[in-house]
């Protein structure tokens, strides 16, 4: 019998989102209610405006909404600053530290930049110094959407001490994902959309349970699905708990703020 899991949601959004799919958490209270409903104990949360409108504005709103909270940890959406519209990578590191940001998020599709080392080097070099997890949000809406596997591989190999977390990787990914996991020990993925038949079992068998993170992608998508999938996965309870929350906790504890 599967025991209860301590769920730590690595992929959650607050604020008014696009709502062409799913809903929004307009308030912190609505997010908390949803966490309680789905038995989620902790979450990492970014702001919808940070992803879909302006990172500086959204990141600031996020801190205002969350306040000091040990259960809902903030994630900032970040941009390379070649245009001067964000903040320099060095200042960003200080701001991340001061505000105890638990991870950062790159949204290349929403902000129209390439996932290339020549434009991300300054940013990612600084992120690597503090080993803050970098979530790669490619805005994947369907399992058939193309994923820039080669670019992801290049970045993982270029910054080997930087944990990268792929978001919303779907059921059609195994043939590209497995060799990438094999080659890049710093690559992780969250399972909100990993609805591959026996996919969690296969990944656990080949790479261990340490490379997968529970994520819900709520309130756009239904947390029920990845929770149920993890609950019924044919792996040990200990492996389930790693995926449910211990892996993301370990990555956060690995951040080296000065």
């Amino acid at each position: 019998m599967t025991e209860n899991l301590k769920l730590f949601d690595s992929n959650c959004m607050i604020g008014v989102g696009p709502e062409f799919i799913g809903s929004s958490f307009d308030t912190k209270n609505s997010l908390q209610n949803s966490m309680n409903y789905y038995c989620v104990e902790k979450s990492i949360t970014y702001h919808a405006l940070a992803k879909y409108h302006n990172p500086l504005e959204g990141n600031s709103l996020l801190l205002d909404m969350l306040g000091a909270d040990t259960k809902i940890l903030p994630q900032w959406v970040v941009l390379p600053n070649h245009t001067g519209e964000f903040i320099s990578a060095k200042i960003l590191v200080k701001e991340l530290s001061v505000n105890a940001i638990a991870s950062v998020r790159l949204c290349p599709k929403n902000y129209g930049f390439e996932l290339r080392q020549w434009l991300l080097d300054e940013l990612l070099s600084e992120m690597e110094q503090i080993r803050i997890p970098v979530f790669l949000d490619l805005d994947l809406l369907h399992w058939s959407d193309s994923v820039p596997w080669d670019e992801i591989r290049t970045l993982c190999l270029a910054y080997p001490n930087l944990p990268f977390v792929l978001c919303r990787i779907g059921c059609g990914s195994n043939r590209n994902l497995f060799p990438l996991l094999e080659q890049c020990n710093n690559l992780f993925f969250e399972i909100s959309y990993f609805d591959a038949n026996e996919g969690i079992e296969a990944c656990t068998k080949r790479f261990g349970a340490e490379r997968m993170l529970f994520g819900s992608a709520s309130p756009t998508y239904d947390p029920a699905c990845p929770i149920s999938m993890l609950f019924y996965a044919e792996i040990t309870q200990q492996q389930k708990q790693l995926i449910a929350g211990e892996n993301i906790q370990r990555l956060i504890e690995g951040i080296e703020y000065v």
Partner: protein, 263 residues
């Protein structure tokens, strides 16, 4: 308020669950771990699924005879665990009736499964008439990946009240506010259902759908092993609806679809 508990919420033992939209076997498009009959039954047992309606991936766009033979093998090895969905190749109209007769007279199939997208055979082709006439004569149910036109489905369901129809997929990822004409048809016509087999699954889509059209025309489907069976079952188990409504979605409505209670 007592703390909610995953083990209780995700307990499938209190329900009779029939998965009304499954496949079986391998696929070229992407890697499927396991997926053949023995693995599939093991996964069904693990998740708590009593029966699954299956149409092999092979029969969705290629060799329907080989596919339908595999269904028969599955049902022979695992009696009472599978419901056979006969696949038909619309690109070989001369073989349609013969294959339908073989599936329903010899192979114990119960449902006709259509996949116009994979076969690249749009639903406005006149050859589909052969299938409707066969289904009407025997009062058979039809699951279609996509009827491609709500008006066409409405017309068919009106002309053939003895056929039960499923429009697949739309309902599983409903955003909760846009209008979907298939929902209107399912609500209005006794012989039309929608299934909640989808990828991805939007936030609380099942309870929003129950509010929209009621619980009696919604059929549970997971698309396994194309998708993950447990991933699919979670959206119903977690939905903020009654256990009775969940049971309707999990099996009762499917039995009406299968045997035609609504007619």
């Amino acid at each position: 308020m007592s703390k909610r508990n995953l083990t209780n919420i995700l307990d499938t033992k209190k329900f009779n669950i029939i998965d009304g939209h499954c496949h079986i076997g391998k696929l070229n498009t992407f890697n499927i771990q396991g997926g053949m009959m023995d693995d599939f039954v093991r996964v069904m047992d693990k998740v708590g699924i009593a029966k699954a309606a299956i149409a092999p991936h092979l029969g969705l766009k290629l060799d329907v005879k080989r596919s339908n033979d595999y269904i028969a093998e599955c049902m022979k090895k695992y009696p009472d665990r599978f419901i056979g969905m006969a696949t038909i190749n619309p690109n070989r109209p001369k073989e349609i009736i013969g294959e339908l007769e073989r599936c329903f007279d010899n192979l114990q199939c119960s449902v006709i499964k259509l996949h116009p997208d994979f076969f690249k055979a749009p639903m406005n082709r006149p050859d589909y008439q052969l299938i409707y006439d066969f289904a009407a004569e025997r009062s058979l149910p039809i699951l279609n990946h996509d009827w491609q036109s709500p008006d066409r489905l409405k017309e068919l369901a009106t002309i053939y009240p003895q056929i039960r129809f499923i429009q697949a997929h739309n309902a599983g990822n409903w955003d909760g506010h846009s209008e979907d004409e298939y929902f209107v048809i399912a609500k209005d016509l006794p012989n039309v259902y929608v299934d909640i087999c989808a990828s991805p699954i939007s936030y609380k889509s099942v309870e929003k759908l129950v509010k929209k059209i009621g619980p009696d025309k919604i059929i549970f489907g997971s698309d396994a092993p194309f998708l993950n069976l447990a991933f699919g079952v979670g959206k119903v188990l977690f939905a903020n609806i009654t256990d009775q409504e969940k049971q309707m979605i999990f099996a009762d409505n499917y039995l009406n679809f299968l045997y035609g209670k609504a007619i």
